[in-house]
Amino acid sequence: MTEPTPEPSASQPEGAGPTEETTRPASEGKGQHPEEVLSAAAALQQEGADSHHTPGTVALTFIFLLCFAVYYFANWKALADVWHVR
């Protein structure tokens, strides 16, 4: 089964990152079980935490939308430049 992922301790300040002992990915250690590889099927049948805090992905989404808007309207501008409507 998937090894339980350690939660940051209550005393750990927000953003301080994990402590070496508790949260260093096992995959960094040669010859160990890659921690999350265990029982992949079971993990994929589960859902993540009840509440999701994913501000980074939301920020990436807005960067994506900005790129899309710029590219899309640049193309309409290019079209307008070569296809004059009188």
Partner: protein
């Protein structure tokens, strides 16, 4: 997985790393399909570097005859053979290991595999014989050797047989109660890919069988050109959506393997896969946006309404996959700032880096250009320019191929039970390949914006191209060369691991 599997005696093993059951019959066919996939990838890749160095005006490596022959070879091997062989391997893995089930039939699997191999060899030989320079689309009235069409038909039938074997395995797994609850998300996605594959293969049969009959001389006239294009894209585009579905399934799988991510919301993710099944076929209409045979209403309905629902599915996955990674990383304590979790991800793990680069290249480059080029009005300034290959190299190569490479870094240690050599090289391989493809796709897109046509041997015959266009075509050559080096590295590492790698039987794989 508490349910009991339905394996025959001595026909299964338990993976020493994942704890997943492995059906030995399925394992054999996963290996067989994966090996063939990599062989055809190599053939297509050799074609790719020859083409990239031909489109670079300062080099122009090939003459016109071999240019068009190589376009045909490259397209067929990369977009059909490499992808289909690997996808059947993915299907066999999903329906057995993830469902705790045996493969439905060894005989059926053999039949499908042999047909695929014979068909693929037949088509490639027909191309090399020089009687099938019709490019991948093989638009009539261009006529290829009958062996070319027959080979493709055999590959399609072989794939269909593999897909039927997959569905029958789903049936016996359900019947025997080998798993609890509903299908795992990855299997659900693979099933969506299999359904779309059936649609694609049926379109291929309708388009290619009469064309084959015509090439044999049994029909005096070729199929109607407009009809052929309409039906052929039901194969050509829809088969690429099989890739997308399989790629997204691989994203979810690699996200779990490499970071412990769990899908954020099963219902939303599954709904997105259903959107693919329902709307992706209609989206193939964007290939016909300048065809006079179909009306504007038909074009706009299919590409500016139905297609957006398929795009919505990709945007859902494009959000939920990185969000699940972020959620998992934050749960481990990587909470610093907006992107602290992202920097802390296992970027040295080629499984992770290939998956995440695939997601970024597919979404940012392939997705944005795809939606834009699929708009009818904008398509008129982009159709048949190099912008189109710029788009689909970002989706199929930067997206699907890179994701499949990432999966291979787990398939070899877990299924072949061999370890990779030169692991530092393996760690940088996804970056080499991904950056090469990104440079090449961008350069193609900008060259197309300068008016450079696609599938033309000597676009600058009259020295009409601007300096900017020539610069971009040089970028195509350089990016293509970098990607080729990355791809060759992948093939060499994988072949070395499969045939000479240190065995890891009886112990977990060495962690990346």
């Amino acid at each position: 997985m508490s349910s009991v599997g339905n394996f025959l005696p001595n026909q299964s093993r338990t993976c020493d790393t994942t704890g997943l059951p492995v059906c030995l019959t399925a394992q054999f066919f996963i290996k067989a399909h994966a090996v063939c996939a990599v062989v055809f990838l190599l053939v297509g890749a050799i074609g790719a570097i020859l083409l990239a160095l031909t489109r670079w005006p300062a080099v122009q490596l090939l003459g016109p005859t071999w240019y068009y022959r190589t376009v045909t070879l490259h397209g067929i091997n990369m977009l059909i053979f490499w992808i289909l062989f690997f996808e059947v391997a993915v299907l066999y893995f999903c329906c057995t290991s993830l469902l705790n089930s045996r493969l439905f039939s060894r005989g059926v699997a053999w039949l499908g595999f042999v047909l695929m191999v014979v068909g693929a060899l037949m088509t490639d030989v027909a191309i090399f014989q020089g009687r099938s320079d019709v490019m991948m689309t093989s638009y009539v009235p261009l006529k290829a050797s009958p062996w070319f069409y027959l080979g493709l038909i055999l590959v399609a039938v072989g794939t269909l047989i593999g897909v039927v074997n997959y569905f029958l395995t789903l049936y016996i797994a359900k019947r025997d109660g080998t798993y609890d609850g509903s299908l795992p998300l990855v299997v659900f996605g693979a099933t969506a890919a299999a359904i779309i594959a059936v649609v694609a293969i049926l379109h291929g049969a309708v388009a290619l069988i009469p064309t084959w009959a015509w090439s044999m001389g049994w029909l005096s006239e070729p199929p109607d050109a407009a009809w052929y294009r309409l039906i052929w894209w039901g194969l050509g585009h829809v088969s690429q959506q099989v890739n997308v579905c399989a790629m997204v399934s691989v994203w979810y799988f690699l996200a779990t393997l490499t970071t412990g991510a769990k899908p954020l919301n099963q219902a939303v993710c599954r709904t997105a896969f259903v959107f693919y099944v329902l709307f992706i076929n209609l989206a193939s209409a964007h290939h016909l946006l300048v065809d006079p045979g179909v009306g504007a209403t038909w074009k706009i309905w299919n590409t500016s309404y139905a297609m957006y629902l398929a795009v919505l599915a990709s945007m859902i996955h494009g959000f939920t996959v990185p969000a699940s990674v972020e959620s998992a990383m934050r749960a481990k304590g990587y909470t610093k700032g907006l992107f602290g979790w992202l920097f802390a991800c296992p970027w040295k793990n080629p499984g992770f880096s290939a998956f995440f680069l695939s997601l970024v290249i597919f979404g940012f480059m392939g997705g944005i250009t795809g939606v834009t080029l699929g708009t009818q009005q904008i398509n008129i300034i982009a159709h048949n320019t190099l912008r189109i290959p710029g788009h689909f190299h970002a989706t199929v190569v930067g997206g699907t191929t890179l994701a499949f490479m990432g999966l291979t870094y787990y398939v070899v240690p877990l299924i072949f039970r061999r370890e990779y050599y030169a692991r530092p090289l393996a760690r940088i391989q996804p970056y080499l390949f991904g950056s090469g493809i990104a440079i090449m796709a961008l350069a193609m897109s900008f060259a197309g914006s300068y008016g450079v046509p696609r599938r033309v041997w000597d676009a600058d015959a009259g020295a009409n191209l601007s300096a900017g266009a020539n610069l971009m075509l040089a970028g195509v050559g350089l990016g293509g060369t970098l990607a080729f080096i990355g791809l060759l590295t992948f093939i060499l590492l994988t072949v070395a691991a499969v045939f000479f790698g240190k065995k890891n039987e009886g112990r977990p794989m060495t962690a990346w």
